[in-house]
């Protein structure tokens, strides 16, 4: 035996020694698994479908990466006897996807599973699929932006009722966000995970949630940066930063899932509906006392031509936002406010060309007790005078007529 031969034998022996246990334990190739599992009729004793779509797996991100069955189904690595035990341990994706697992551990989906609420227990495969998992930028991936809503809605449309009522989540399918996704394929348009997060989804009530009051401005601002900036400059935004709970955030005016363009007639901020939205707070007596703003905003607006016309569906008249602005609404005392008296001619001038300073010499939709300048109350005085005059005239007329009518009737009877 030459030196070279000895070396070769040695190497071979090592190789056999090292590889033998693996060779003996092997089912080991995917082909072995698929020999049985490719059968579309294959079922477990409990009747669960056990078939695996070979093509689907081979096209999956794992299949493409050469990851084999036993890399995930770890307890089959050592199995020799086939058919193997029907109860396998669940696949633990976290073995490889550690970061995702960590995030998932804090999520409401994980909590639900841990607390034994089996009905809503959710694992990786419920969102990502199992053997056919595609990369998330693959058109066929369950988590591809265009497909994600349908993936979440598998459970959230009906099976998992929202506290806000049936149809609350389905409202997303009517939203501008979904329209942009579905009609135009704009993948940057907000889908579920843009607002709620993905692995680390938590309940709205959780301060850490992306859609909690604490975070919602930032979350919407991820895309609507300019609006976020403008909101934070307005009275609502300034109070929001102070942590005042009653201040409206994006979703209070725009609604949550069924957010629509303001031009859409069903939008909560459509021209004729803005007044209802604002008056939810601005007609609230308790809030007005607490924060010192005027009440009867809807009533006084409705009494004005603008408000009346809007109630009848006329969209060309001024609504709250036309004069007050929207995201960066400011107090009338703020020189930057659209309703500061120096800016009123410009604000009114948007619709009333050539609006003069006279537009500022009065009070728009005011109750008499809210007007401090005496002459600005003139129209209220005129109104009261009219009410008195009309009442007196009508009462006098009715008495006069009643007397006439009764006298004539009585006389007729006498004659008859």
């Amino acid at each position: 035996m030459t030196r070279g031969e000895a070396k070769r034998v040695c190497t071979l022996s090592w190789a056999v020694l090292v590889l033998l246990p693996f060779a003996l334990a092997a089912p080991q190739t995917d082909a072995d698994c698929l020999a049985c599992h490719e059968d579309k009729e294959l079922k477990s004793e409990t009747g669960r479908a056990m078939s695996v779509d070979r093509a689907g797996f081979e096209m999956s991100i794992h299949g493409q990466a050469g990851i084999s069955c036993v890399d995930c189904h770890l307890d089959l690595r050592k199995t020799k006897d086939y058919p193997h035990d029907s109860l396998l341990n669940p696949v633990s994706c976290g073995e490889c996807h550690e970061a995702a697992l960590r995030e998932f551990a804090t999520s409401i989906h994980q909590k639900a599973s841990a607390e034994g609420q089996a009905r809503i227990a959710v694992g990786c495969k419920d969102c990502h699929g199992s053997h056919e998992i595609r990369p998330k930028d693959d058109f066929d991936s369950l988590t591809f932006p265009l497909n994600l809503p349908a993936t979440c809605e598998k459970c959230h449309l009906e099976a998992v009722p929202s506290k806000k009522g049936a149809g609350f989540i389905g409202g997303y399918n009517r939203s501008a966000h979904f329209k942009a996704l579905e009609k135009s394929g704009l993948t940057m348009s907000a889908n579920c995970s843009h607002c709620h997060g993905a692995h680390n989804i938590t309940a709205v009530a959780d301060p850490g949630s992306l859609v909690s009051r604490k975070n919602i401005i930032k979350t919407c601002g991820t895309c609507h940066v300019g609006i976020q900036k403008s909101y934070l400059e307005g009275v609502h935004g300034l109070d929001y930063v102070k942590g005042i709970k009653d201040v409206p955030v994006c979703t209070d005016c725009h609604s949550e899932h069924d957010i629509l363009s303001p031009e859409d007639v069903n939008s909560s901020v459509y021209a004729t509906k803005v007044a209802q939205v604002c008056s939810r707070c601005h007609d609230d007596l308790a809030l007005s006392r607490q924060y010192g703003f005027l009440t009867s905003r809807l009533k006084t607006y409705s009494e004005s031509f603008h408000g009346t016309a809007a109630r009848f569906g006329e969209i060309r008249v001024a609504n709250c936002a036309s004069c007050h602005g929207y995201h960066d609404i400011r107090a009338s005392s703020d020189p930057k406010s659209t309703i500061h008296k120096n800016n009123l001619p410009a604000t009114c001038g948007q619709c009333h060309p050539g609006a003069s300073r006279h537009f500022a010499e009065g009070r728009v939709h005011s109750s008499p007790e809210q007007v401090e300048t005496a002459k600005y109350r003139a129209s209220h005085v005129v109104k009261n005078v009219y009410v008195i005059i009309i009442s007196v005239i009508i009462v006098v007329m009715v008495i006069f007529i009643a007397a006439d009518f009764l006298r004539r009737i009585l006389r007729e009877e006498k004659r008859g």
Partner: protein, 261 residues
């Protein structure tokens, strides 16, 4: 002895000529168009108006109808003024329409008569001396009216006043930019209030006062047809406008006597 009466009961007199009736018809039409298209703004929450004006587009149409009706009414006012000023009949009508102290006395007289309190007191021996000296306050008979009684005069002048107020305030509401170039906002607010409340007043006055006097009043029930055919019979003239009746009678007597002479 029995000469034929100078005015027969079935003789027909012309109370409103065609021009006057047309003015009245146009007034009715425009008045109710204006009311129907205007009231929804005042009662924006009433369901029937929401049914009448179901959308923003119909609301805009409402505005157009309101303005067209207003223009028609103004044209009618102008026609009326021209007619009144330029025709003999118009001037005579106008003279008869001028309010006089007698109208106040008639109004009090009619109410007193209808109430019958003075007569009741007198019959039971109260204030005999007072009533013997001042028989007017006894209200024994209905007041006697001329061509236009105080009721009609009140209607006419209330309408004239109301129309003027509505035209002025409405003009400035229509031309809000012009209005606010001339007046401060608080004055413009008065126009708006006045336009609305004057409309309510006019509407109620017409519904209550005019509808009673030309429809519901047992004198004319179910309806005085003067506004349709313009005719009034000798009998109605004698009963409703006795002083005018007397005047015509007097004229005829004079003509008769001059003829005899």
């Amino acid at each position: 002895m029995d000469s034929p009466p100078l005015i027969r009961d079935d003789e027909v007199f012309l109370r409103m000529n065609l021009a006057e009736r047309i003015q009245h018809w146009v007034l009715i039409g425009t008045f109710f168009l204006l009311i129907i298209t205007g009231l929804p703004l005042f009662f924006y929450d009433v369901r029937i108006f929401r049914w009448l004006i179901p959308s923003g587009r119909s609301f805009a149409v409402r505005g157009v109808i309101h303005r067209v009706a207003a223009l028609l009414m103004i044209a009618n006012v102008i026609a009326h003024v021209v007619y009144t000023a330029t025709t003999h009949r118009g001037r005579e009508n106008f003279k008869a329409m001028i309010p006089r102290w007698q109208d106040v006395k008639d109004a009090v007289g009619l109410f007193g008569y209808n109430l019958g309190l003075s007569r009741f007191l007198y019959r039971h021996g109260f204030g005999r001396k007072f009533f013997n000296h001042r028989p007017y306050w006894l209200f024994e008979n209905r007041p006697l009216y001329g061509r236009y009684n105080f009721i009609e005069k009140f209607e006419y002048w209330a309408l004239a006043w109301g129309t003027a107020v509505m035209i002025v305030s409405g003009f400035f509401m229509w031309n809000v930019e012009l209005s606010l170039r001339l007046f401060p906002l608080w004055v413009h607010d008065i126009f708006i209030i006045v336009h609305g409340y004057e409309a309510i007043l006019a509407f109620l006055a017409v519904i209550i006062w005019h509808m009673y006097n030309v429809h519901l009043s047992p004198e004319v029930f179910p309806m005085s047809k003067v506004w349709l055919n313009g005719k009034i019979t000798g009998r109605d003239l004698r009963l409703l406008h006795p002083l005018e009746y007397e005047r015509i009678l007097e004229e005829r007597r004079k003509t008769l006597s001059t003829e005899v002479l």
